[in-house]
């Protein structure tokens, strides 16, 4: 059974009057092919993705096959099916098959790299003020344990432009390299490693970053490595060419923008760096110890990269294999260029409309919207609330009210002393969704100012987190 094909040559509910050449229109009409609750205005596919109904159905067929004979599927079928998925993803990002393995999510993949690298005292991890929270915590954990690599945080601050971001990275790198510890160790012949964690697109705020140029910057310096947190990249950034860009590590979620099932992501490690990834995050049956290999050179030589990631213990194989049907679906609705042209245009127009309704502005005020792909960040008219307890109270208030009362969602976040909302423009969204969200947030902001927070950004009396 060809599991990376949709069950029929045309997806279900496909109107007989449409020719194979014609693509369906984007917007609310496309909701027919998703399983979102009727009336739910989803402007947050960036967090957990949305799975199209044909993909769910294709996955059910795979699940049925697994349950019909788990041993047959896992032992005889899965390996080939997994390779086919990896091939398709590799092609999408301009990488070689043997450089791409699948992992449950970007956090998993990023931790796989971070925990495998050998750290020495004096090594530095450079991250930014917009590094994803869980990734930031992973670096904090590393800094907390021996040998305590140093953390350096680059501030990404307004005015936001790609050039300024790149210069911030340059300045951050210079700062590290001219630090006393770094220069001393280098003079002693022990140049420390610097790992730069750069987002392809940051999360909250959702901004395109000059990641290719940061990768290039790293390459021009000795012992400076690039780890690209590309969680949001696949299915949003068109024409990724990793063979050309050559980052040291690149990890992207497929379930965010590529429409696969939650729990599927790709970890790219170029051949030259695979020796550094000694083990999957927890070792698998295919882990080869150096001792074993020395004693028996007929074994695969460590680290046996691809094979280690093929099976890391019992898991649901459908999650990875959903990538095939997801790609088929995206092809059917018009392909990556067409999809992302629609989404980017909608993000920009939707952001403008949202800013109008709220009486505020888009975070990206560059003339060409150079920081905007399919995500847009619009300011909320709230006072600054630096205290953590206040921020938590406001976030919880927004989340509950949006989801339970207004039947919509896009996350609010606090950044550079301002509150913002990040919206994701997807193939099933239209400008009216942004208007609805704007009305919701306008109302909720007013309620928050009245009941939760005062003009000084403190919690009002009687209000606790």
């Amino acid at each position: 059974m060809a599991i990376d094909k949709l069950p029929n040559s045309a997806p279900p509910n496909h109107s007989a009057s449409r020719s194979a050449q014609q693509f369906p229109s984007f917007g609310h009409q496309l909701l027919e092919h998703f399983s979102l609750a009727p009336g739910y205005v989803n402007l947050n596919s960036g967090s957990y993705g949305t799975v199209p109904t044909p993909v769910i159905q294709a996955c059910k067929a795979i699940t049925d096959e697994v349950e019909a004979n788990p041993d047959k599927f896992m032992r005889l079928k899965y390996g080939t099916a997994l390779t086919q998925c990896r091939e398709r993803v590799a092609r999408l990002i301009g990488a070689n098959l043997d450089e791409c393995v699948l992992v449950p999510n970007a956090i998993h993949g990023i931790n796989t790299v971070l925990r495998n690298l050998s750290w020495k005292k004096g090594d530095v991890i450079i991250k930014t003020s917009v590094t994803y929270d869980a990734v930031d915590k992973a670096t904090r954990f590393l800094a907390d344990i021996n040998p305590h690599p140093t953390l350096e945080t680059i501030s990404i601050s307004p005015p936001y432009t790609l050039d300024r971001m790149l210069r911030a990275f340059e300045a951050g790198l210079k700062k590290v390299q001219s630090s006393l510890e770094y220069t001393t160790l280098t003079e002693q012949g022990e140049r420390p490693k610097i790992l730069v964690i750069v987002d392809a697109l940051s999360s909250t705020p959702g901004l395109l970053m000059p990641w290719e140029r940061v990768v290039e910057l790293c390459k021009t310096h000795e012992n400076v490595w690039s780890l690209v947190d590309a969680a949001h990249a696949i299915g949003q950034v068109v024409g990724i060419d990793l063979k050309k860009i050559q980052p040291d590590f690149f990890i992207s979620d497929c379930h965010k923008w590529l429409h696969s099932k939650r729990g599927s992501a790709v970890l790219y490690v170029p051949l030259r760096n695979q020796r550094l990834i000694k083990t999957t995050l927890h070792p698998s049956a295919a882990y080869i110890t150096t001792e074993e290999y020395v004693n028996d050179p007929s074994l695969p030589s460590p680290p046996n990269f691809v094979k280690q990631f093929e099976w890391i213990g019992t898991h649901d194989p459908v999650l990875y294999l959903s990538i095939g049907p997801a790609l088929d679906f995206r092809k059917w609705i018009g392909g990556e260029v067409r999809i992302n042209a629609y989404c980017k245009d909608l993000a920009i127009r939707g952001g403008q409309r949202l800013a109008e309704v709220l009486g505020t502005e888009d975070m990206d005020n560059t003339p060409d919207h150079e920081l905007t792909l399919n995500m847009v960040n619009v300011r909320l008219p709230l006072p600054a609330t630096p205290k953590r307890a206040v921020r938590i109270a406001i976030e919880e208030f927004f989340n509950r009210k949006l989801l339970l009362d207004w039947n919509t969602f896009a996350p609010a976040f606090y950044h550079d002393n301002n509150w913002w909302v990040r919206c994701c423009a997807q193939v099933y969204n239209e400008v009216s969704d942004f208007e609805h969200l704007g009305r919701a947030y306008k109302h909720l902001v007013a309620e928050a100012i009245q009941n939760i927070v005062d003009e000084k950004g403190e919690l009002r009396e009687g209000c606790t987190a």
Partner: protein
């Protein structure tokens, strides 16, 4: 993800497919509650488990709810349901809910523990010759990454009996304590750590081990820790009481014998040890750095154990939440004692029948079948084949022929000079399945002897191994 206050919502009702009905008797009549290919003889529940159809149906209801509004489900609904599932598993194993978190599978949970330990030169890890492969690799990786950590292997060999197995552990432990490395450090006033990795039931072979006794023994010694690989325990061992046994760490799969959806396991860490698990694997957004906590004591106190495990990155929540429907289904069938009464009896009778047909014997030769629960290991009529390349060929031959030719499966394995087959007796099996398996392995073993290997256990001329070891 923020710490939103959880929304209490009812979990989906039990599947309509069995509500109000009487459960059928165990055996082939139960096949209608599973989704196997017609005629497929599944004697290998022990590897991947099998999802009962009502549990799959309940999972579909949950999935639909997630897809209807992923943010609502994940941010508001998930936490309360997850806590309830943890509570039900905790009740099943005599533990407290605050000591039980969910991970993807036993290997993952075990490694999370191994990686969390602050290894020092001269520390020991004791495993056995039948410790599960990936767990052995996790242990080897610790030794690779921490030079100075010493591995000691306890050999479990015939006769396979609980006392003998326990004695082997005792001897292995004594060997460690009388080793020059251990002695050198204790003379300096140090007490090296010994971590004992013990199975509740081993995998291949599938044998019950005297794990509670080993845990008890370790407690009598200073700085000796028990890491219990209980992968096969949940849903097979009745009356687990971790509050009483008090291992240091204990991890069990829910999808093997407990009927949950792949992949879900419970990691038990008693309160006294939670400070050791500084981070999940991967690190969660709920990780609290001690440095941050020192500056801001309003943060959750490290290690924020339970909360870290609540969310370690986007995943499919249905396997964890399938615990409820799985336990409901098992309760409807009559409960753990009734289920396992049937399975164990069948394992014993099935093993005897299988041994008759093959003209061999069971691994468990004890008068009361004391090392047999729901898995039975029977010798295959093959000569010794010590070479790895030969083992790989035979293993591959059996697997393909069984799955593609005989429409049946139970895994072969090699131990101490003999080939064996491990059968799992489950609620959908009956004695005829063992007879069928016996006929299959009898014929296939004859084929191996005729075409693949000679009397010396070498590959026959002209027959080359084409499959790699790993």
């Amino acid at each position: 993800m923020t710490s939103d206050k959880p929304l209490e919502t009812p979990a989906p009702a039990c599947s309509a497919s069995y509500t109000g009905k009487q459960p059928p008797p165990f055996g082939h009549q139960l096949l209608k509650y599973f989704s196997f290919d017609p005629g497929y003889v599944n004697l290998n529940n022990g590897s991947y488990g099998a999802t009962p159809t009502p549990v799959s149906e309940a999972c579909k209801v949950i999935s639909d709810e997630v897809e209807a509004n992923p943010d609502k489900f994940i941010r508001l609904t998930y936490e309360a349901r997850w806590i309830r599932c943890r509570q039900r598993v905790a009740d099943l194993i005599g533990a407290e809910v605050e000591e039980c978190v969910l991970v993807q599978n036993t290997s993952h949970g075990l490694d999370n523990v191994l990686r969390s330990i602050d290894w020092k030169k001269g520390d020991f890890i004791i495993k056995t010759n039948i410790t599960y492969g990936p767990v052995v690799n996790a242990i080897r990786f610790i030794a690779d990454a921490n030079p100075g950590v010493i591995l000691e292997t306890v050999d479990i060999g015939p006769p396979y009996a609980l006392d003998g197995i326990f004695k082997s552990f005792e001897e292995g432990f004594k060997r460690v304590q009388s080793s020059p490395e251990y002695a050198a450090l204790t003379e300096q006033g140090q007490r090296p750590r010994i971590v004992v990795v013990v199975d509740t039931l081993s995998s291949l072979p599938g044998l019950l081990m005297p794990w509670e006794r080993v845990v008890g023994f370790c407690k009598g010694h200073e700085n000796v820790w028990t890491l219990v690989d209980a992968a096969h325990a949940l849903g097979q061992i009745v009356g687990i009481n971790l509050n009483k046994t008090q291992p240091d760490f204990w991890i069990s799969n829910c999808h093997k014998w407990m009927s949950a959806k792949r992949a879900c396991a419970v990691l038990y860490v008693p309160r006294r040890n939670q400070h050791i698990i500084k981070t999940t694997l991967p690190t969660s957004a709920f990780y609290v750095s001690p440095n941050d906590y020192a500056k801001d004591p309003t943060l959750p106190k490290p290690p924020n154990f339970v909360k870290q495990f609540e969310w370690t990155g986007t995943h499919d929540p249905t396997p964890y939440l399938s615990i409820g429907p799985a336990l409901d289904f098992r309760e409807w069938l009559g409960g753990e004692e009734k289920i396992n009464g049937y399975c164990r009896d069948l394992a014993i009778r099935g093993g005897q029948r299988l041994a008759e047909i093959l003209g061999t014997e069971e691994m468990d030769q004890t008068p009361n079948h004391e090392v047999t629960l729901n898995m039975v290991n029977v010798k295959l009529p093959l000569p010794d084949t010590p070479k790895d390349a030969v083992k790989v060929v035979i293993d591959g031959f059996f697997k393909k022929k069984l799955l593609l030719g005989w429409n049946a499966f139970a895994p072969p394995f090699y131990l101490h000079g003999s080939w064996w087959v491990r059968c799992s007796a489950q609620i959908w099996n009956d004695i005829s399945d063992f007879e069928y398996m016996g006929n299959a392995y009898k014929e296939l073993s004859a084929q191996v002897i005729e075409s693949i290997i000679d009397e010396k256990g070498e590959l026959r001329e002209g027959y080359t191994a084409t499959i790699s070891v790993h």
